[in-house]
C-alpha cells in the first residue's frame, strides 16, 4: 500500500468517525414530521370506521349469515305461505280451525242478541 493510499484510508476513517452525527435541528424536524404523519395516519384509520360503516341492509344480511342466510330465509317464508294455503294431510287446515273455533265459541250461552236486547228491565 502506498503512502497516498494509506492517507486516503485515514481520511475515509475520519469521515467515518463523523458519519453518526445528526444535527440537533434536523433530528427535531424529522421527529416533527413523524408526529404529523403519525397523527394523520391514526386519525385516518379511525375516521374510516363511522363514515364507512355498514348500512341497515348490510347489517341485517350480516346478522342472518350473508346471502346464503337470506336465501334460506326466503325459502322458509315461501314454504310457510304454501303450507298455509295448501297444508299437507298430516297438518290441520288452518281455515277449518278458524271456523271450528267460531262455532265452538258461544259467549251468549245460546241466547240470541235480539232476545237479550228486547228484554225490558
Amino acid at each position: 500500500m502506498t503512502e497516498t493510499e494509506r492517507d486516503l484510508d485515514a481520511m475515509l476513517a475520519a469521515a467515518r468517525a463523523r458519519r453518526d452525527d445528526l444535527p440537533d435541528g434536523l433530528a427535531a424536524r424529522i421527529l416533527a414530521d413523524a408526529a404529523t404523519v403519525q397523527a394523520a395516519q391514526t386519525a385516518g384509520s379511525e375516521r374510516r370506521l363511522p363514515t364507512r360503516g355498514p348500512g341497515f341492509w348490510a347489517q341485517l344480511r350480516g346478522a342472518l349469515g350473508g346471502w346464503p342466510g337470506l336465501g334460506g330465509l326466503a325459502t322458509a317464508c315461501a314454504a310457510g305461505v304454501w303450507i298455509g294455503l295448501a297444508p299437507p294431510d298430516f297438518l290441520p287446515d288452518p281455515v277449518t280451525l278458524v271456523y271450528q273455533d267460531e262455532a265452538d265459541l258461544d259467549v251468549m250461552g245460546g241466547a240470541s242478541l235480539s232476545e237479550f236486547l228486547s228484554e225490558d228491565g
Binding site: T2, E3, T4, E5, D7, L8, A10, M11, L12, A14, A15, R16, R18, R19, D20, D21, L22, P23, G25, L26, A27, R29, I30, L31, D33, A34, A35, V37, Q38, Q41, T42
Partner: protein, 203 residues
C-alpha cells in the same frame, strides 16, 4: 419523485436478508407508537444524513434530503411489505434518488459547499487539521463521476457489504467492485499532490 419511492419497494434485499428490527419498529410506528419514531430516527436519520452529505457535499441540502427521505419512510410505514427489502436498503436508495433529483435541478457548480465546522474545543488544532482532511476528501469525492462517488461513499464511509450496495444501486456485485476500485484510485490520485498541505508529512 413518487415513482422513485415506490420503485424502492422492490429493491433486492442485502446479503443478510430482511432486518426484523427496523421493520418491526416501522410496524409499531404505523400503529401510533411515538417511541418507535424516536428509535428509527436515531438509527436511520444519521444514515440518510451521512450519505446525502458525502454525495452532495453541501450541509443544508444534505439536511433537506435526509428530512425528505425520512418523511417518505414515515408515509410508507402503514404499507410497508414485510420481508420485501431491508428498511435501510430502501432508505439508502430513496436518499440517493433524492440527491440525484437535487443535482439535476441545480445542474450547476455548487459554490456554497459548506466546510467542516471550525472547533474551539481543546485539541482544536488537531481537529482543524482533521476537518481540513475531510474537506479535501470531500472535494476529491465531488470530482468523481456520480456512480463512483455513490459506490465509494456506501462502501468506504457507510461500510456496507457489496451485495447490499448492489441492491441499493440496482447493479451487479461486480459492477460495485469495479466502481469502488476506480473511485478509490481516482481519490488517491487527486490527494497525492496535497500530502504536505494536509499535514501528512509529519505523521
Amino acid at each position: 419523485m413518487e415513482d422513485l419511492t415506490s420503485s424502492g419497494e422492490t429493491v433486492r434485499g442485502g446479503a443478510s436478508g430482511p432486518d426484523p428490527d427496523d421493520a418491526a419498529l416501522l410496524v409499531l410506528f404505523a400503529n401510533g407508537d411515538a417511541e418507535a419514531a424516536r428509535e428509527l430516527t436515531g438509527r436511520l436519520g444519521p444514515r440518510c444524513h451521512s450519505v446525502a452529505l458525502r454525495v452532495l457535499g453541501n450541509r443544508a441540502e444534505a439536511e433537506d434530503v435526509a428530512q425528505e427521505a425520512m418523511l417518505r419512510l414515515w408515509r410508507i410505514a402503514p404499507r410497508w411489505q414485510q420481508g420485501r427489502a431491508r428498511v435501510s436498503t430502501w432508505l439508502y436508495r430513496v436518499t440517493l434518488n433524492l440527491c440525484l433529483d437535487r443535482k439535476r435541478r441545480k445542474a450547476a457548480v455548487d459554490l456554497d459547499a459548506v466546510p467542516e465546522p471550525a472547533d474551539a474545543a481543546p485539541g482544536a488544532a488537531e481537529r482543524l487539521q482533521e476537518a481540513a482532511r475531510i474537506d479535501a476528501l470531500q472535494a476529491a469525492l465531488m470530482d468523481l463521476p456520480e456512480r463512483q462517488r455513490q459506490a465509494v461513499v456506501l462502501r468506504h464511509i457507510e461500510e456496507l457489504p457489496n451485495p447490499e450496495i448492489a441492491g441499493i444501486m440496482d447493479i451487479s456485485v461486480e459492477a460495485v467492485e469495479s466502481l469502488t476500485a476506480r473511485g478509490k484510485r481516482a481519490l488517491a490520485a487527486a490527494l497525492a499532490g496535497r500530502r504536505a498541505e494536509l499535514g501528512y508529512e509529519d505523521d
